[in-house]
């Protein structure tokens, strides 16, 4: 979006329209990662069609992983996304270790959690502060918002930088980290390096708390559809890398059984596949799902912070995902500090992983939701088959259903306002469209 000399606040235009048919079209979705658009056709008071169009070109990662060595999977899959490479690396190494019958425990497991905390912080803060918050305050973009709130935006960039610093220390660099391997890492940070990082995190923690307090003051549309939330659940911790896959409708399965319950389908209007639960259809992955299914796994201070932010133990309003992302950011800072304080040097950087014929599955909680990888490898270590299901493609059907319901409930709004609210509805999910096409034009046609 181009800069403007005005404050960038959008004013309501015109009076609410009498119910009539129309088509709403957004050519290119703004403030999302990747290229997508929306087409909504309305006839009278009925929404006839909703299409979240993904025209990001297909990227064929599953195909060119074949015949690559299994040790290359974290490096190759990291290239799927520049914002969530850690998620791809973690899902891939867990899947490969599953195929080879290896579990990574102890300090290496903790360092993986720390690594992931870094990604949650930088991804969540980028979305909350730069992409989503402007919607709630009536700004066209973060640039317009920054002119009125320079101090807060500066602090958010510092908080994001802290997340980047975690990823850089553990991963070697923040974009497409190079230090991750099947079995662990190539190099471990020293205790001294971690303590230095810890000092930065202690300094920045108040900013994370301030971010949560700020977003909690936003006004949220009354919109609470009934969803099936799907997330990982671990016996003792808020999920990042491990757990069973559970849902709010009673599903409780091992990661290895994912494909017995979830399928991907082609749709004409999208280069990204759509996922559905074979039993119940569309489902909802991401921060809201993790929160609802794992609130009891938060440390008590985080539970208290959630209540102070106006959240109950259950939240089904997708517009409040910005509050949950901010809460998860605060949790990630605290979890990172815990891991750093308890870390003891001395472990080898990785465990040995010997390839064998077999299939392995891994599922970790990317910032946007569960990210599933499954590989079949041969005893020579070459990948025979790969399947990658990103969280955004799992949410596409739910996003379309949200749009349908939201337009039906707000059909009388002026066109400009309805269009913006629809874009905001999509941004509730922080979609990573380039991931979804391993993968906003909003067009609303009133007929």
């Amino acid at each position: 979006m181009s800069a403007s000399e005005t404050s960038g606040r959008k004013a309501k235009q015109g009076s609410p329209k009498a119910a009539k048919s129309f088509t709403m079209k957004v050519e290119a979705l703004a403030r999302v990662e990747g290229e997508g658009g929306i087409l909504i056709k309305v006839r009278g008071n009925r929404v006839e069609d909703v299409q979240l169009k993904i025209f990001e070109p297909p990227r064929f990662f599953e195909a060119f992983l074949r015949q690559r060595h299994f040790t290359e999977a974290p490096d190759i899959t990291a290239r799927i996304c520049g914002i969530c490479p850690v998620a791809y690396q973690m899902s891939s190494v867990h899947a490969m270790e599953d195929a080879c019958g290896v579990r990574v425990e102890g300090p290496l497991r903790e360092l993986r959690r720390l690594f992931y905390c870094g990604e949650w912080i930088e991804s969540h803060v980028l979305h909350v502060a730069m992409l989503h918050a402007p919607d709630f305050l009536g700004y066209q973009s973060a640039i317009h918002m920054a002119k009125d709130h320079p101090e807060l935006v500066t602090k958010c960039l510092m908080l994001k930088k802290a997340g980047n610093d975690i990823v850089t220390l553990l991963g070697g660099r923040e974009i497409h980290p190079v230090n991750v391997r099947v079995g662990g890492f190539y190099r471990l940070p020293s205790k001294k390096e971690l303590l230095g990082l810890g000092e930065k995190l202690k300094e920045i923690r108040p900013v994370a708390a301030e971010l949560l307090s700020w977003v909690a003051t936003f006004t949220f549309p009354a919109f609470e559809p009934s969803y099936e939330f799907v997330a990982l659940r671990h016996p003792s911790e808020y999920p990042l890398c491990e757990g069973r896959i559970v849902s709010s409708k009673g599903l409780d399965i091992a990661v290895q059984d994912y494909e017995r319950h979830f399928v991907e389908e082609h749709v004409r209007h999208s280069n990204a596949l759509h996922s559905r639960h074979t039993a119940l259809g569309a489902y909802f992955a991401g921060p809201l799902a993790r929160y609802n299914l794992n609130f009891d796994r938060f440390p008590v201070p985080i539970q208290e912070a959630a209540r102070r932010a106006g959240l109950s133990e259950w939240c089904s309003n997708p517009f409040k995902s910005i509050v949950v992302r901010s809460l998860e950011t605060l949790y990630a800072v605290d979890e990172a500090l815990r891991i750093i304080s308890q870390y003891e040097e001395g472990a080898a950087p990785s465990v040995e992983v010997v390839p064998r014929d077999g299939i392995g599955a891994g599922c970790t909680e990317a910032p946007r939701g569960i990210l599933y990888h499954r590989y079949r490898i041969a005893s020579d270590g070459l990948i025979q088959e790969a399947k990658i299901v990103p969280p955004t493609s799992q949410n596409l059907r739910t996003i379309e259903e949200d749009l349908r319901l939201f337009v039906e409930q707000h059909i009388g709004l002026p066109q400009d306002e309805l269009t913006w609210k629809c874009e905001q509805t999509v941004r509730n999910y922080d979609p990573c469209i380039s991931c979804a096409t391993h993968f906003l034009k909003l067009e609303i046609i009133r007929e």
């Binding site: 979006m1 181009s2 800069a3 290119a28 979705l29 703004a30 999302v32 990662e33 990747g34 290229e35 070109p57 990227r59 290359e72 490096d75 190759i76 290239r79 520049g82 914002i83 980028l126 730069m130 973009s141 973060a142 640039i143 920054a146 002119k147 320079p150 935006v153 500066t154 960039l157 994001k160 930088k161 980047n164 660099r173 923040e174 974009i175 497409h176 190079v178 380039s434």
Partner: protein, 181 residues
Amino acid sequence: MRDALPETRDHSGVKDRSRLVIGLGNEFRGDDAAGILAARELDPAAPLLGWVACCRGGGIELLELLELESTVILVDAAVSGKPVGSISRFEGLSPCLLADLRNCSTHSLSVQDALELARALGRLPERLVVYAIEGRRFKIGEGLSPEVRAAVQLVVIRIREEMAWRTSKTGYPESRKTSSP
């Protein structure tokens, strides 16, 4: 897959942070690698130039790299309709210039938005120079066009000259400051 050398973004021990050359782009997207390659070519000369950085993360990372009181030179691929390999050099931070710096991708904050955000936050450099190299192919996995590869070498030479002039008393020649095909 794994770089043999560390990235050129280590702040520790850098004595001179008043000059900054930033190569922007994505080395896996054809001609979009131009800026990154230019930065890598310049990197061995880093002690002379002060500091060189690669920026793959788009506008947010660019914002983090900008220093308040520095001369910043950006190198990036461009699409403007000029012949492939054309080199354009822009000086100044005028609104007109910034209006022309539109992103060709919807991935992350654009260069224009990053600079406007820096302006809103009071973080613009004192002086900004942009070297734009006209590209043709930007698909994943495509290699660099030969014309762009040649242009990268020429831009590297010009930046070295420019930074050497910056340390001289007479300054960069006026004849070099305008756009060139």
